[in-house]
Amino acid sequence: MNNFRLFLACLSIFAVFVSCEDERYDLSQGVDLTVSIGGDSLALPIGTTSSISLKSLMDSYGGNAGADDYIKVLEDGTYAFMMSGQESFEFDQISSGGLSMDDYSVSSSIDIAITEGLQSGYASEIPPLYIDFDEVLDFSMSIDDVPGQIESLDSIILSSAYIDVDLYLENLPDLGADGKISVKAGMTIPESLILDGMSGNYYYVDEPLSEDGRLNVRIPVRGLRIGDIENGAITFNETVGLAGSFILEDVSIDHGELIGREVTLGYSALFGNIMPTDVYGKFNYSIDDYNVSVDIGNSLPDFMKGDDVVLDFSNPFLLLSLNTNISIPFEASMNLTPFVGESPNVDGIQEISMKMKASQSADSYVENNYMVGVSDKSLSEYPGYEFVQAELNGLLNPVPDSLRLSLSAAVSEMDQYHIVLDCSYSADIDYELVVPFELGPDFKAGFSETVDIEAGNVADIITDMLRSGKVAVLKGEMTNSIPLNLAFNIKAVDQYGQLLPVSSKDGVLPACNPDGSPVVAPWRLELSADAPIDENASIGGLIIDIRIASGEDISGIPVGEDDFVKLSVSFQLQGGFEGNIEDLMKTE
């Protein structure tokens, strides 16, 4: 009995050993299979980019059609914005017709008595008889319509003008069979005539008369000396003097019968073939204002446009090449005016003056080459160019819509020059605006690029992580040889292209070293949600805004096509990645 009671007592111990359910571990409600993957600092190495050369970036982001035509690469590999143009001018001809004159003739006659001359010293000879004359012919000519380009004339060159002087005797008595007549006379030609082959204007003849009793002398005239031009006309009031003697020799007739007898002297002068070819003088030639408007707005690549863009280039220059055959040097004046819309940016106007050399002849052209710029450091690349200093770096800052190039030229009216009449004078102007990408400290530009993210697990996972408040981090190390500081931030759009409330803190890629060598530095970009993200939204793309800027320590370093940036990239979620065990176990 005691043993049985003891048995029951031991059995009662079992009452203590009763399993107790812990309601906290209610497995019927399932288990949250969310897990943290890889720890709170997991960074997924994405990889490294290739060395992204500036050339490839420019090819991708150069932007609008046509901009490629203006972004060139100089011989040293530096990028440059280059615009060029060409224009030709014709100078107004100075017509010879305006300076031509009709042939001009004047004649007269006079009765002159034969006189006995002085014993000539020929004791055994019969002294000659003389007909002395001293007459004047009046010339009065005019050029009535002097071309307007002529300010004043020194001389007119004639091609084959002449003065014909004609002397003849009438009513001449019989002089006997052996009688002969010669003339010794001097002709005083007008000073305004430039005689060819003669230094003065006195022409002497000593010749026998022709059988018909005439003497004809043709004196070539090379040119005309010109005096004042009054009211567009040039007047010549000149005289031709004829003085001399007819000498009657070997006259077998009694001199007494001849002496005193009057003979009619006829004389005339003809100024003919007055055809000018060249002129010497002062001229008022000018080139009408030449204006060309260069469309900057459509010529710049997209990343150089925008309200935030500051195009600060340290070494822009303008190459001018003017070829002309005009034999007059003239002064050229060029105005560069940036326009914003229709309004000129007065503060950016540049005025440049240049002297253009004259050609040696109308058949040859002379080159006038100028480099107009801030500094002459690129001059050595353009042999034969002359440097003209001008502060062109303000032309593109602020960014104009267009740039007007105005050119005018005029000859000096103070000096005398030679012009060939009826000649086509012309000038060709080649201009090239070269803006090497040697950036000033204030240079700023920017562009955007959209990167698509294909719908799928990756996009959904990243969206879920951002929706849960996590911060996505892209980071790594970058090598940058571009002399530009790059700052970038990212916005996200959903699968329909609508902006998501997701943005980033600025990531920064510092520029290369001041000596142009590549810089190696860490970089980091954080992306997070600014506001709740719609449950149905998923990241469909990223908009990357990139701003590039120069700086004091890197200004002036050329930006070349071989400059590059290279990135190593890893992806991290602050707080770690999360996933669901069931999803992770699924295989495709």
Binding site: E21, L27, V31, V35, L42, V451, E454, S570, G575, G576
Partner: protein, 467 residues
């Protein structure tokens, strides 16, 4: 006095060790099963076993180390981001193991000799066991991952072993004298299949720029009808040859045991000792196939990635594919046969009978060499046998990962059916229904058996004559 001793023995510390046989049965004299713990033991009568099954799981990993109640009433895994690493990792040990056993007798008979002295058994059984070992470092890596910009892990000795085998055994025990009884068992073993996978070492270095993993691992399969290989693209190929259906390996083992009953002043004190599974398994090379990996893989991402106008999503897809291509397994042909020693166990017990052996108290020490660790356990038990056909044993095990309470109930009438059921590890805290899972410990086993007694009345009479 014996009552006092019995009450005192209420507090015990549990220990755990995977045991194929209920160790709570060790001091249950009517148990037909305890013979497998010490071949010197004999039950009250012979038997023909109709059903004998045991299932055990032991691990120092428990449900509450993997699942955590959240503030909102839900459950989350230890990998949940809201569970701190400190809390989660404090639950794990330097070596974390999970072992499981399943055994069933296909045929078993035990019988006494005519004199009732000797007892012999014949058994044919099927057993499956598994051992898995996971170091703390792996959980640390899973939970903390990359926790700063340069993180390194060195994880070694991850292993798992699975084996199914048939065993045919015969045991014999007898009294040497009034005090000493000895016994032994001879087991013939046939391995149906065995698989071992071991990661000897895994070195992981993670930084922003690269992930570097060096893994040295090996896997071996012993399964005669199928040869396992791996092709270049990490595809596993199973080549079946049904003509070579045969055990993957053969082995033998012996069990030895002894029991000494004191008399005189120490009468009632019984001490016993046994060693079991002293043996080996042999696997021929033709049944073995091996794969392995001893490579360092470095992932630095893709070269020449393009973010300008490209599809970032496809970039990540490529990265995912790259990870899949990182793991490279290669064949490790096994040209030598393999012989391995079995995990021997030894038992040392002491029992003191009380109240004319109506009850007793006992202390049992068990030791076992596992794949990666040594297991030992100390079990204190209280055994109640108010009559020959009823026995109840309560035990408390300690010295291992958990202290647990065990129990066993034996109904062994001399005729009819004999039934027993018991568990060495009783869990009190479970997850809420419908899943009855132990919460605080993962030591559990259950064993039950059904048999038909033979020689019941004969042995009862002989025992009565002996007393």
């Amino acid at each position: 006095m014996k009552k006092i001793i019995f009450i005192i023995l209420a507090a015990c510390v549990s220990l755990s060790a995977a045991s194929q046989t209920l160790q709570t049965n060790y001091f249950v004299k009517s148990s037909s099963d305890r013979n497998t713990l010490n071949p010197a033991f004999a039950p009250y009568h012979g038997y023909v076993s109709l059903l004998h099954t045991n299932l055990s799981i032991e691990s120092n990993l428990s449900v509450d180390k993997f699942l955590y109640p959240m503030a909102d009433g839900s459950l989350a895994t230890f990998l949940h981001p809201d569970i701190s690493a400190k809390n989660a990792l404090s639950a794990f040990r330097k070596v974390n193991y999970l072992n499981a056993d399943f055994g069933m007798n296909l045929f078993s008979i035990g019988s006494f000799s005519k004199s009732g002295n000797a007892f012999w058994t014949i058994e044919l059984g099927l057993k499956y066991d598994m051992e898995t070992s996971v170091p703390y470092g792996l959980f640390d890596f899973l939970k903390r991952g990359m926790h700063d910009s340069n993180t390194a892990y060195s994880i070694s000795n991850i292993s798992t072993r699975h084996e199914a085998m048939l065993h045919l055994s015969t045991a014999y025990s007898r009294n040497i004298n009034d005090n000493l009884r000895v016994g032994g068992r001879l087991k013939l073993l046939a391995s149906l299949a065995r698989a071992d996978v071991a990661v000897e070492r895994m070195d992981i270095k993670m930084s922003d720029e690269e992930w570097r993993v060096r893994t040295k691992m090996s896997g071996r399969l012993a399964f005669a009808p199928m040869h396992l290989s791996v092709s270049g693209n990490n595809e596993f190929n199973m080549d079946w040859d049904m003509s070579s259906i045969a055990p993957a390996g053969y082995g033998a083992a012996i069990d030895l045991g002894a029991e000494y009953k004191f008399d005189g002043i120490l009468e009632g004190l019984n001490v016993s000792a046994a060693v079991t599974d002293l043996g080996f398994m042999y696997y021929s090379s033709s049944a073995l196939s091996g794969i392995g990996s001893d490579k360092e893989i470095v992932y630095t991402g893709a070269e020449n990635i393009d973010f300008t106008g490209s599809d970032i999503g496809s970039q990540f897809e490529e990265i995912g594919q790259m990870f899949q291509d990182m793991i490279v397994m290669e064949n490790k042909p096994v040209d030598k046969s393999l012989t391995r020693m079995l995990s021997a166990r030894f038992y040392i017990g002491a029992e003191y009978e009380l109240l004319n052996d109506i009850m007793s108290v006992g202390l049992l020490y068990q030791g076992r060499f596992g794949v990666n660790r040594y297991y030992n356990e100390l079990t204190a038990s209280y055994n109640l046998r108010p009559c020959e056909w009823f026995a109840l044993s309560l035990s408390y095990s300690f010295l291992n990962a958990y202290n647990t309470i065990g129990w066993a109930l034996h109904l062994t009438p001399p005729a009819g059916l004999n039934f027993y059921i018991g568990s060495d590890y009783t869990f009190f805290k479970t997850a809420a229904r419908p899943y009855v899972l132990p919460l605080k410990s993962t030591y559990a086993n259950i064993e039950f058996g059904l048999s038909v007694p033979i020689q019941g009345f004969k042995m009862k009479k002989l025992r009565q004559q002996g007393n």
